[in-house]
Every structure is written in structure tokens, then in C-alpha cells.
Symmetry: C2
Subunit: 410 residues, 2 copies
């Protein structure tokens, strides 16, 4: 059950744009029993689209093509697919009617150009698009299937979920791919591998991949199941890995560190306040990405300057003068200060040197302190992060959340 994804659009061949649709398409395909073995981006050129599609049909059971279904001259997916399959396009009167109604309901006349969107490849099933004017198509070609979907995620996602995936499941005939993602903090990739390899090596039917992210290491377990088969060994492997990785494993279901910490705060009825210097918003931005975070996150201070560390977080001027803004003392004072100012259960702070400027021999770029305070404890953590400005800031935000998790467990 091999699938491949073709994204059509010249904008994705510029330095500014990536094909991000393929991520959730891959997730859906995997659940339906298909593994993605190629992804291609091609520009708005009929010859190129036809070439890529021709190759794909020869080697894959399912080919998902996104984009190029709009009404303009740049939208060439329909004609390219028709030419590769050597099937004519016809105008579907039902689609013409639907398009006209769509425009009329908005009080507009349909421009003649939109009639192109009513063109259907002979033998294709039309996939309705409730959120846009470009219908999709499901085209069976021998044992393979070619699926055409519009590019905008708002249109693509619901069509994929409700119309394409159910058909794909039927093709897979009950075969499916199950997966588990486990996230680990505070270990290197090789530490994780040296602990995990002797265990996952005993499960040849499970494909195990180790990925290094920003601050975290992820283990991804993949298992193909035949119709009716259960994933007992996947559970078993996941449990063994959990036991051997211990406290460093912060999620065994792919949850992010901010989701894990959020749940811990919610369950213990505690609230959180933050004081961010070098991360300046990245940490709070991650915390509040979780829906419902207002139940435990009170807010905090963006204390980029020394003045703000004093005025909003109550750091004593003498502490700043004696130790400098990037110091364990200031990290602790920030955590304690913001906790008490906001009346939170827990205070969390980050102060460091993200670069490119501002480093010294004693305090180089990448040096970061995190402070943690609750009613009875006041601690700090010191770390040196490699990487550029964005890298240091991202790692600091992740590590602050990982430190908070450890703090909450004690």
C-alpha cells in the first residue's frame, strides 16, 4: 500500500514557501493503511506535472495531487492529468449548476473563467468541496487511484477526511499502520539509542525511528497490521521503552511538553506565571498555544530590559548590579518576583544571552538560566545552548518547560 504526494504550485519552488499539506495528508494516509514513499513539488507547468504524475502512477497504489485546480490559466492539474491518462475532459452540467449557485448566493455573477472548474476527467468521481469552488476528483486507473484535491488547507482537509480516507480504507482492505510517538527530554540521541536499541531490536515487525528535535528526542514506532490483527506487540514495546527511559520520557502519545505541563498544572490545581527575558514571548506563546490554557496560565512579564526586571518583576537593583541580568540570582529573583506579583502557585523565569551580540568570555552567547519558585522552593537551572539566536531561544523555551515538568514532579 504505497502512496505518494504531489504538490502543484510554482510558489513552493521559491525560497519562501513549503508544501505543508503533505504533513497532515501523511498522517491520514498512515492511519488508513498507506505508507508515503515519495513527495514531489512541481511548478505550474503542464509538461512537468504530467511527467511527475506519469512516474507516480507506475510505482504507487495511491497518488494524491494537491493544488492547480483553480479557475485561472495557471491551474493546469486537470489538463495535465487528462493528458497523462489519455482521457478527455468534459463539462459536468451538475457542477456548472453548483458553481452558478455558489456565486449567486453571494450576489455575484459567475465569471466565465470559472467554468473551467466544472471540467471533469472521463471516468472520474467528483469530490465535493463545501468550502471552495474547486471540486476534487477520484480517478481509478487500473489498480491505482489518482486523487485530485485543492491546495488551500481549509478546503483540502475536510475533503480528505470525509471523502478520500474512507475510500482509501476500503482499498487497504482492513490493513492499517499504527504508530506511537514518544518524546524524551534531557538525553542525547545516542543515550536514547543505547538504551532503546537492545529493546526495539527484539521487535523486527516494528519500525523504530529516532528523531532529534529542538531540545527533545523522539522515538517513533510504526507497525503494519493485517486485517483483524491487534497491535499487542506495539503496546508491549512502548511499555518496555517507558520503563527503560524512566523520568526522561515526558510523553508516550506524542503530546508536546506544553500539553504535558498544562495537564499537570490543571490536575494539581496550580497556576503559573512566567518572566521571560531572552525568550521574550516564545515560552508564553507555547504555553498558550494549548486550548484551555487560561485555566492555569495567569500571564507574566516580558522583561527584556533591566528596568522591567525591576518594575514588573520586583528584582532588587542590588541583585542586578552585583550579578548581572544573566545569573542564577536574577533567574531566581524573577521567578519569585513574578510569582508573588501575580499571585500564582508557580513562577518560572528565563534569562540568557541569545546573541548574536552581548556575549563575553565569562558569559558567552548560549548561556541561559531558568528560575523556578513555588510556595516552599526556589531553584535555578543553568544551561549552555549551541546554535544561532533563534536556536538558543527555541531551546531555552523548550528547556524551561522541561524544567518546570521536573519541578512539578518533585
Amino acid at each position: 500500500m504505497k502512496a505518494e504526494i504531489i504538490a502543484v504550485g510554482s510558489e513552493m519552488l521559491t525560497p519562501d514557501n513549503l508544501d505543508t499539506n503533505s504533513l497532515f495528508i501523511t498522517a491520514e494516509l498512515n492511519e488508513a493503511g498507506f505508507q508515503v514513499h515519495f513527495k514531489t513539488v512541481v511548478g505550474d507547468r503542464e509538461k512537468d506535472i504530467a511527467e511527475v504524475l506519469g512516474t507516480a502512477i507506475r510505482r504507487s497504489t495511491a497518488v494524491i495531487v494537491t493544488g492547480g485546480l483553480g479557475p485561472t490559466e495557471d491551474d493546469l492539474t486537470r489538463s495535465a492529468v487528462a493528458s497523462v491518462l489519455r482521457r478527455p475532459l468534459h463539462t459536468d452540467p451538475f457542477l456548472v449548476e453548483m458553481l452558478r449557485n455558489r456565486f449567486q448566493s453571494r450576489g455575484w455573477n459567475m465569471p466565465a473563467i470559472n467554468l473551467r472548474q466544472a471540467e471533469v476527467i472521463d471516468g472520474a468521481e467528483v469530490l465535493e468541496n463545501p468550502n471552495g469552488s474547486a471540486p476534487g476528483m477520484w480517478i481509478e486507473v487500473g489498480k491505482a487511484v489518482v486523487v485530485l484535491l485543492p491546495g488551500p488547507p481549509r478546503e483540502l482537509k475536510p475533503m480528505l477526511e470525509s471523502q478520500v480516507i474512507p475510500r482509501m480504507r476500503r482499498i487497504a482492505g482492513g490493513r492499517r499502520l499504527v504508530s506511537r510517538t514518544m518524546h524524551i527530554a534531557g538525553m542525547t540521541e545516542s543515550e536514547v539509542d543505547s538504551r532503546a536499541a537492545p529493546i526495539y531490536g527484539r521487535y523486527p515487525n516494528i519500525e523504530t525511528t529516532i528523531l532529534a528535535g529542538t531540545g527533545l528526542i523522539s522515538l517513533r514506532l510504526l507497525r503494519w497490521l493485517e486485517p483483524g490483527e491487534r497491535a499487542g506487540d506495539l503496546e508491549e514495546l512502548a511499555n518496555s521503552l517507558e520503563a527503560c527511559l524512566g523520568e526522561a520520557l515526558f510523553s508516550n502519545r506524542g503530546e508536546s511538553i506544553e500539553e504535558v505541563v498544562g495537564r499537570m498544572l490543571l490536575q494539581s490545581g496550580q497556576s503559573l506565571a512566567v518572566a521571560e527575558s531572552c525568550t521574550s514571548g516564545l515560552l508564553a506563546g507555547r504555553i498558550t498555544r494549548v486550548p484551555g490554557s487560561s485555566a492555569y496560565f495567569l500571564g507574566g512579564a516580558l522583561c527584556y530590559s533591566d528596568e522591567v526586571k525591576m518594575s514588573l518583576c520586583g528584582v532588587p537593583r542590588e541583585v542586578l548590579a552585583a550579578h548581572g541580568a544573566v545569573s542564577s540570582q536574577v533567574a531566581e529573583a524573577l521567578a519569585q518576583g513574578i510569582r508573588s506579583r501575580l499571585g500564582a502557585s508557580v513562577g518560572l523565569s528565563v534569562t540568557g544571552i541569545a546573541g548574536p551580540g552581548g556575549g563575553s568570555e565569562e558569559k558567552p552567547v548560549g548561556l541561559v538560566y531558568m528560575g523556578l519558585a513555588d510556595e516552599t522552593r526556589l531553584v535555578h537551572v543553568r544551561r549552555m545552548f549551541a546554535g544561532d539566536r533563534d536556536g538558543v531561544r527555541d531551546r531555552s523555551a523548550f528547556f524551561a518547560l522541561a524544567s518546570l515538568r521536573t519541578f512539578l514532579r518533585r
Copy 2:
């Protein structure tokens, strides 16, 4: 001068990882005179890599392959390329020496497995890797060139810039692609196009693309130059577009809104403080992504809860009680409050309903107010944003910066 990029790595065929290297590779290739016409992602399978590479060599002048050059059994790029080109691999004694030294300088013995990284395809030029153990290769195949580079950006980038691009320029023989990116805020895609199309339509040698981003619209102008030719018409078109787009154009050189606003603050000697409710860090995170932002950004408050709007930003309890947290009155009080607390020249605030919960008929999800205050002015802007939680938050952060730009221009 057609190029294509092949990214090797099974992790990029999962729902979690994209090939992001291709963005800066594309930028560098364009400047060197090459247009990217295909991008492919392929897994760690020798047969698949060989198939994709075989196709690429037949249709492209330059093929850039990233990844799969590590020392493990999963690293199959070397052998796949050798098999496609029908050239043997040999062990390069000079590379063996370099690898040994690299390990020795760290006090380690080189594992035997790393000898694979000293294998070179016959006829290839070795590209040195100062930041890792995987050397690259430059392989001329008839009129085409195949370039192998390691996957990690820290290793890939310097090799590309210092060793690959100069060679590519020589192949292009002085031909090059020049581009201009213009960013526009506060207009729809069709408004921009209806103004711009009559103008760029007069320049058939310049490829003009319109892209819709989060809040902004971008115009990208591309012009191929023959050796010795100058881009006079590109400048002319850019100037005409600038005139017709007026104040809505915030950058004619691809700068981000936070860079533009940062420069305005710096040049006018003003400082900035922010109060973020629904964006909660996203706005400050963008502002401080700009190196040197500490020269004008003082900090601010993450005022997620009403209590914090009062305690850190001095919003009067009565204003909150009378109008609710998401209101023009609270937006203005936040901007004014944070400005005076932090002693900043300008205060900027965002308060809104990002969803998924919290909306009502009167104040639906997507309703956002921005407040702006300086010594003499206090204003607000109201907007309704479509999209999910992340979308509303991203648009709010962008729009707050765009509003600040307008405010600073007055």
C-alpha cells in the same frame, strides 16, 4: 539552467518533518542563476534514491542531493549515486586521515563504521565539511552536475555557500536570476492584483507572482539576466508598483513587518512596550526575533487574566467590569498602562478571543482589539479574523505590528 533538489531521509516522509533545507538552497541557487523546477523527498531506500536520481539527471542541469551521507547502514546516498552513474566507490586515504584526526582531536578512536564516510565516487571532487564528519561530493556527469551534501543545516549551509555556489556561478556563465519581494498589509489578494496587474503586465520578461501569507500579501518579481545585463526594468517595475500600492506597501526588499517597525523605532529614537492578552507572547516573540531589538524593545506584560491586566498594566477594575476584557476601552487602557509602567515612548496592546472557546454572539471567536498609545495619542483598531486558534493569534500578532507601523507614520 534548471536545478532540482532531492532530500533523502525517511523522517521527512512522516507526519512530523518537512524538508526545510530546500528553502535556503533555492535562494542560493536562484542568485547563482539556477531556477528550481522540481523538489523531491525520498526515504532511506537505495532503490528509491537511485530511481529519483536517474530521473533528475535526465532533466536537470544541476541536481542537489541532501542527506544520507552519515556512517550508518541507513545512509545510502553514496551507494545509490554510484549505482546510477555506474561508477565504483573507492576509499580516499586523505579522507581516512582527516576523519581519524577529527576523532583523535576529541580524544576518541574512530569507529570502523565511519570509514564509509571516506568512500568517494570515482571522478568526484570532494567537498570538505568543516562542521561534521560527512564530506560532500561534486560530480560532473556529461553536461549535468550532481552535488551531494550532508543533511544538517549547520554542515550544509557553509559548504553550499563557500564551495558549491561559486562552482555553480561558473556553470551559469554570468547568467543569473534577480528577484525583489514586496510585502503589503491591509489589502486583499485581489485588490493587490487589480492594482498591480496592469503595471506588471507591461513587463513580459519579469515573472510576477502574488502570494497570500498570514495577514500580508507578497509580490515576488523574478528576472533572468544574461551575462553583463543590468536589471533596469526590474527596478522600474518595482518603483511603479511602489507608487501604485502606496502606504499599504511596507517593504520593497522582503523585510518582515517586525524589521520595518524596528527600524522606524530605532531611527526615531523611540522605545516600545507591549501588553499581550490573546497573542500572549507571539507579538513580543516576533519583535525580539530581530537581532538588536533590545535597543528599542523594553518588554511588556503577558496579561492573559483580568487580574494581570489590572496588576501589571494598571487597567482600572471598573473599565474591565463595564466593557469586558475584549473591548476597545480595555485595549486602550492596556496600551496606555504598559506605556506608563515601563516608561516607553509607545505602548501597543492586543486583546481578543482566539477560540476555540470563549466566544459569544456579541463577541465571537476572532474578534480582536489593538490599542496604541504615545505621549499625545490613544487609539484602538478593531478586527475580525477568520481561522482557528493559531490562525487568529498569528493574524493578531501580524496586524498589531502593521497597526504600529501606521501609527508611527502619522
